[in-house]
């Protein structure tokens, strides 16, 4: 049985996903600013990504000035990444809709692992990332995470360009 800590991705794989993504649908984004999902959305918006909140309970309202959708199928624009903030077992309930939206990447947050989803993603030629957070990975690879004394495991002998904050 594969354990969560056995799921590792090469830095170049994560980096290429973050570099080639422009739009992100976030399933399970909370409207409460203390929630981790809100932190992630705020950070990704500040880094220039377009975020589509998906949360049936908040449908029609806005979160961080972005229109909230009740389901992924309602979004008419092209979605590069679908970021999922749901329990691992709940991923099974939404995975068909997620695959139908034809994203380049399906990303499951920290603590979210679903091997069935991973299998389906691969079969449909979609990148899969599990048990990770795009905010932490972006911060880790850009050097920002290191500002908080966190071990990034990244070594540089060249200058890094950090993407500017967009407001």
């Amino acid at each position: 049985m594969l354990k969560n800590e056995d799921i590792v991705y090469e830095d170049y794989y994560i980096r290429s996903i973050l570099d080639n993504t422009k739009t992100i649908a976030m399933i399970g984004l909370s409207s409460s600013w203390q929630r981790p999902s809100y932190f992630v959305a705020k950070y990704l918006l500040d880094r220039g990504y377009k975020v589509f909140p998906v949360n049936p309970r908040e449908a029609g309202k806005t979160i961080l000035n972005q229109k909230v959708y009740s389901s992924i199928s309602e979004i008419n624009e092209s979605i590069d990444m679908i970021d999922i903030f749901r329990k691992s077992s709940d991923v099974d309930l939404i995975i068909d809709d997620v695959i139908k939206a034809k994203p380049s990447t399906i990303w499951l947050q920290i603590g979210v692992v679903n091997f069935n989803a991973a299998k389906l993603a691969k079969r449909n030629n979609i990148n899969i990332v599990m048990n990770k957070c795009p905010k932490i990975e972006y911060g880790r690879l850009s050097g920002e995470l290191s500002w908080a004394g966190i071990n990034s495991g990244v070594f540089h002998n060249k200058r890094r360009i950090i993407r500017p904050i967009i407001n």
């Binding site: 800590e5 203390q34 500002w147 908080a148 004394g149 966190i150 495991g153 070594f155 890094r160 904050i165």
Partner: protein, 429 residues
Amino acid sequence: MSIPKNNYKFETRTIHAGSAPDPSTGARNTPIYQTTAYTFDSTDHAASLFNLQNFGFIYSRLGNPTVSVLEERMANLENGRAAVACSTGHAAQLLALHPLMEPGDKILASRNLYGGSITQFSHAFKKFGWGVDFVDATNIKNIKKVLNNSHKCIFIESLSNPNGVILDIEKIALIANNAKIPLIVDNTMASPYLVKPFEWGADIITHSLTKFVGGHGNSMGGVVIESGKFDWFQSDKYPSMTKPTESYHGLVFAETFGDFGYSMKIRADSLRDLGSTLSPTNAFYFINGLETLHLRMERHCKNALKVAKFLEAHKKVSWVSYAGLTKNKYYNLAKKYMPKGVGPVFTFGLKDGNEAGKKIISKVKLFSHVANVGDTRSLILHPASTTHNQLSNEQKISAGAGPEVIRLSIGIEHHDDLIQDLRNALTHI
């Protein structure tokens, strides 16, 4: 989240971990960012930093670009998740305990600690309502006997100051683990070059950076490092980690920041409010010091073993407490936990006792009589009248700092000169 793999060897990481060419100037060495504050791009940016939603610098009490290089390097060298640096080793102990302890809680600590730590735990912390039980942790049964629900952590030194007691870290970690409380290891005397406490199951590491990390006796500093593996939610013992934090509008640190939640809590709450910040200039000295840690420790250990062997064979010396000597009772534990050496700090006693001890301190010409360890220079001290002076006679003896004890910290000079200096001084006794 798991800790990223360290693909490079320790010696490479002492030089490269955490640092990179400066993004704006390309400066290759880490600059000293001698600044108190950082500009905000907008009010929204400022608010997102204060709310901890964005990574970035606000005010140097909470974080500084020079200090953060040191923090990441220390976290990396200990194979930990994250680190928070601070003004001294004593500050590191206060910060490490602050998120764990509530009034009425207790620390279960090894009695073989640096005298200053024993005093800090027994007197200063008492005023916060924090209690402490000291045990002889060389026999782990003593820990099991005393441990109860009021204890929020176990605190030990990987290599004790001054008498080089080595504890069975792996077994003590298991006891802490079963009790669902973190094991905190002060790894100052060994440095991450000699021992890696996280590999034996420790959850939190503290250091006085003032010693081997700096290595040159020029700066004071401390650090707290977390393994990222402790599960805060497995019990209701740590409300500061698992319940909403009022001063951050109800943020739950262990949830929002996951496996670096403890470090974020220390930085955003404890360091912010207790104020024991490390200066960027001192951080610069520590970053420089770390780059030669492996070379210095190798030489420190090699010299110390030679000096210890000389003293052991000397007719005026009654005993030498150094785990690198085959007769020492910690020799086997040393082989397990620190196969590369047991550091350069050890104690010895003279047959003629207390007065002879004082005399040798006055007669040495190369060893310096100072209250520090881990310097490039060799140091000599009478702990009973200095570092362990505040303790009772009974405490002094149990901490290995009785009246006849002399402490040495062997430097990286040539060992022949050090031995000659001690040989000469011994002729006066």
